[in-house]
Symmetry: C2
Subunit: 180 residues, 2 copies
DNA sequence: CATGTGTGTGAGTGCACACTTACAAACTGA
DNA sequence: TCAGTTTGTAAGTGTGCACTCACACACATG
């Protein structure tokens, strides 16, 4: 055996998050994920339950990585006040999405929520993130809501490339958003 | 002649916004748009420059309808203060997206921004909306930014179906958002 | 009526891609 | 060493779909 199936699954999931992030579910052939992972298409189908199963598993991996990053960020704030912890989590999230894979994957997943399995995975992912942010920061509901609202705005800024637009309307939207 | 090409284009665009909103660019066959518009697939290809041209035109129609709705909403606020005008615009937007087509189309368009023509159309659309909101409301950049941030949060709530989730984390995210 | 112009379609064509199957090679244990 | 299990693939198969083309009908204008 060259490798265990479990290890292969992990590398395939990394490749899948990256590939799906760039071109989305329907425009990303499984061959692209397989090639990025360095294995054959057929083996991807053995490791995961179809393309949809692969995408759902990738969503799980994506949100997992987000929660881990937020945990690490919150750790840097120790047991400071809610605002400080949220701020630290924001910084950690900004660093995490520097490579854009996790951000773009979330956008792509949101766009495929007409498939029930994906909608469920997205809900599960945000449940993990939101409950963690809430409990770890101890912030109010309104503060948590604001945290996610500006996070979603960040998604728009990056997907539309607004940080490259020098006009006033774009600068208004991007002002103060941490290095998108 | 049964109809003018221009009139056909308009009905096709309505069908396209609706169809693309539900299943996205890559998962929506042109036959579906054609069927919804009541014409043949071949004629859609004569009216628009390929599937991509159709999608870009639909994006234009989508943002056009949004600006019109915001204008009407702002009109109801007259020349009140920035907060009141923004509030009225928010109400108008909430009403407009009750059928979800315009909201979902924006999400789908964001997901296809790896295609340069789509990214350009999205930027153009948000440019129209943002400049109008800014100038018509006279609100500060920070207020405009907040307006869009919570708008994007609304998109997440609707796509993920969070308004159906009774758990505390979901209620924190949906609190106070106008009937998504 | 003849010619032209705009509206509209049926019937393809070719290709990309999800998924399967049959088979091979590596490793394990007795 | 030989049987069984796991890892891995090459080579299909079928289908859905973007896009084309030849052709038909409606209407105008001389």
């Amino acid at each position: 055996m060259r490798s265990t199936a479990e290890a292969r699954r992990a590398t395939v999931l990394n490749a899948a998050v990256s590939a799906f992030a760039r071109t989305g579910f329907h425009a990303t052939p499984v061959t692209a994920v397989a090639a990025a992972a360095g294995i054959s298409e057929a083996y991807v189908f053995r490791l995961f339950a179809g393309k949809l199963g692969l995408f759902v598993a990738a969503a799980g991996a994506c949100f997992e990585r987000i929660v881990v990053a937020l945990e690490a960020g919150a750790e840097r704030a120790g047991d400071a006040g809610p605002e400080e912890v949220l701020e630290a989590m924001g910084d950690a999230y900004a660093e995490l999405i520097a490579d854009r894979d996790l951000l773009l994957f979330q956008v792509q997943a949101q766009a495929v929520t007409d498939v029930p399995e994906v909608a469920e995975a997205v809900r599960a992912g945000y449940k993990r993130v939101a409950t963690f942010v809430r409990s770890r920061s101890g912030a109010s509901d309104a503060q948590v809501q604001q945290f996610f609202a500006y996070g979603q705005l960040c998604h728009l800024i990056v997907t539309a490339g607004l940080e490259q637009v020098p006009e006033p309307w774009a600068r208004a939207l991007t002002a103060g958003i941490r290095h998108p």
